[in-house]
């Protein structure tokens, strides 16, 4: 399950651009995740420049 550490997130959109499912979006300067679309692949967490995203179970890397 993807978790967003909002105190760290810089809302830059790097994660949004790599998400293969289109599950992430920047809304009003907040990163949001569509839990129905997210497959917990962890790609977004890998590219985050600040380490604001965490996936408990990274399956498809």
């Amino acid at each position: 399950m993807l978790s967003i550490r909002r105190e760290i997130c810089g809302y830059c959109g790097a994660c949004v651009s790599v998400c293969p499912e289109g599950a992430l979006e920047l809304v009003d300067a907040y990163l949001t995740v569509d839990a129905d679309r997210c497959r917990d692949c962890g790609i977004c967490a890998r590219v985050c420049p600040l380490g604001a995203l965490e996936v408990a179970d990274e399956r498809s890397l």
Partner: protein, 397 residues
């Protein structure tokens, strides 16, 4: 805000602004929506541009933080390669103040007649029978359907609009440069000189930049490949180590993060009723990461072609294809492909080979020859390049 425009532009960066200005100047109705509450902020950019900027706008000193007259490359072994103004032209370029610059571009679009709405975001595309007809837009807390003859997606690297229209815009993880930048002050730099540090230790598959913004102020940033990014070795970790070594007493007054695509552009940047520009089209330079000029170029071109197609009453994919063909055939388009191939070579280089290549750069007269000739010269001094890397032959033709 009206319910219908000739052209609806998603995103108020340089690409969107140039598109809006071109459409408005052609006498058509257009509207730019920007999801952020202010144009040009937060900045997600190192703010450097070359002198090609004059192809689009006469720079006002108010938007220029520093004029850059030289550059230095620092090889992994510490060797400094100086690119003087004599080697790289009289004016290497400028470091902009994007907060001011982006606002100016939007003002010009607005003055030409383009409507602009901030804190307004697209939440979905309106597509009928495969033709993009507009966008569902959240404005003042309400969702509205805004229709348009053409929608121009200028929504940056995190572009969602084209995805909603069925176009695959995903950036491969390995081809996303993940970036962190500090605006630092009270640091010893060379005003008027931009510095690039290379090497797998300092910035794997990327580089550290110091872009002077004043006498003792600079954008100090880093981009590394997404595939090299992990806990303890994220861009911020690399940059903090660099800062600790080079500028331990410097003061960080701004933190900027972002992603830059270093992949090829989208396979197609148009579909029926849709055009895609700038970072959303993946036209940032895959070698340098530079994206401002390319966004301005594609934005302006898209606006011009959109106006032309609307006046002719044909917004089909075939009609809009003119935009896609024109930018790909332009110097920018050809440069993107060439620099993509060069980037693919450079990311595979060991530090030793990078030292060898950078060491030979100083022997080359950069003023008199083009990129292809520079590559040929590099091979002259590093013949192993051609032997080991067959793709270089393609670049040289």
């Amino acid at each position: 805000m009206n319910d219908h425009y000739d052209v609806l532009i998603i995103g108020g960066g340089p690409g969107g602004a140039m598109a809006g200005k071109a459409v408005a100047e052609a006498g058509l109705s257009c509207c730019i929506i920007e999801k952020r509450p202010a144009i040009g902020t937060p900045v997600r950019c190192a703010e450097g541009v070359g002198q090609e900027i004059y192809d689009f706008i006469d720079l006002d000193p108010k938007w220029v933080s520093a004029k850059i007259q030289g550059a230095e490359l620092v090889a992994p072994n510490g060797q400094v390669i100086q690119l003087s103004s004599e080697m790289a032209g009289n004016e290497v370029g400028y470091v902009l103040d994007r907060k001011m610059f982006d606002r100016e571009l939007i003002w010009r679009a607005a003055n030409a007649g383009c409507e602009v709405y901030v804190k307004t975001r697209a939440v979905d595309a309106i597509v009928e029978n495969g033709v993009v007809k507009g966008a569902k837009v959240e404005y003042a807390g309400k969702i509205r359907n805004i229709t348009a003859k053409i929608v121009i997606a200028a929504d940056g690297v995190e572009s969602k609009f084209a995805r909603w229209c069925g176009i695959d815009t995903v950036v491969p993880m390995a081809e996303l440069e993940t970036c962190v930048q500090y605006l630092m002050t009270d640091i010893d730099i060379q005003p008027g000189v931009n510095v690039f540090y290379m090497g797998n230790e300092v910035a794997p598959e990327g580089y550290v930049w110091i872009f002077a913004k004043g006498e003792r102020t600079a954008n100090v940033g880093i981009g590394i490949s997404g595939k090299k990014c992990r806990d303890g070795n994220r861009p911020k970790d690399y940059l903090d180590r660099f800062i600790q070594e080079k500028f331990p007493d410097g003061k960080i007054i701004e933190l900027i993060v972002g992603g830059v695509s270093a992949c090829r552009p989208l396979t197609s940047t148009v579909s029926a009723g849709l055009m895609i520009v700038g970072d959303a089209a993946r036209v940032s330079d895959p070698l340098t990461g530079g994206g401002i000029i390319n966004a301005m170029y594609t934005g302006r071109l898209a606006g011009e072609v959109a106006a032309e197609c609307i006046k002719e009453g044909d917004v089909s994919a075939a009609a809009l294809k003119k935009y896609d063909v024109l930018w790909r055939e332009s110097a920018m388009g050809k440069g993107l492909e060439r620099n993509y191939q060069i980037k693919e070579i450079f990311i595979r280089l060991s530090d030793d080979k990078m030292n060898s290549i950078l060491g030979s750069v100083q022997k080359i007269d950069l003023e008199k020859i083009g990129t292809k000739e520079i590559v040929k010269e590099l091979i002259k001094y590093n013949p192993w390049l051609l032997k080991e890397i067959s793709s270089l032959k393609k670049i040289l033709g």
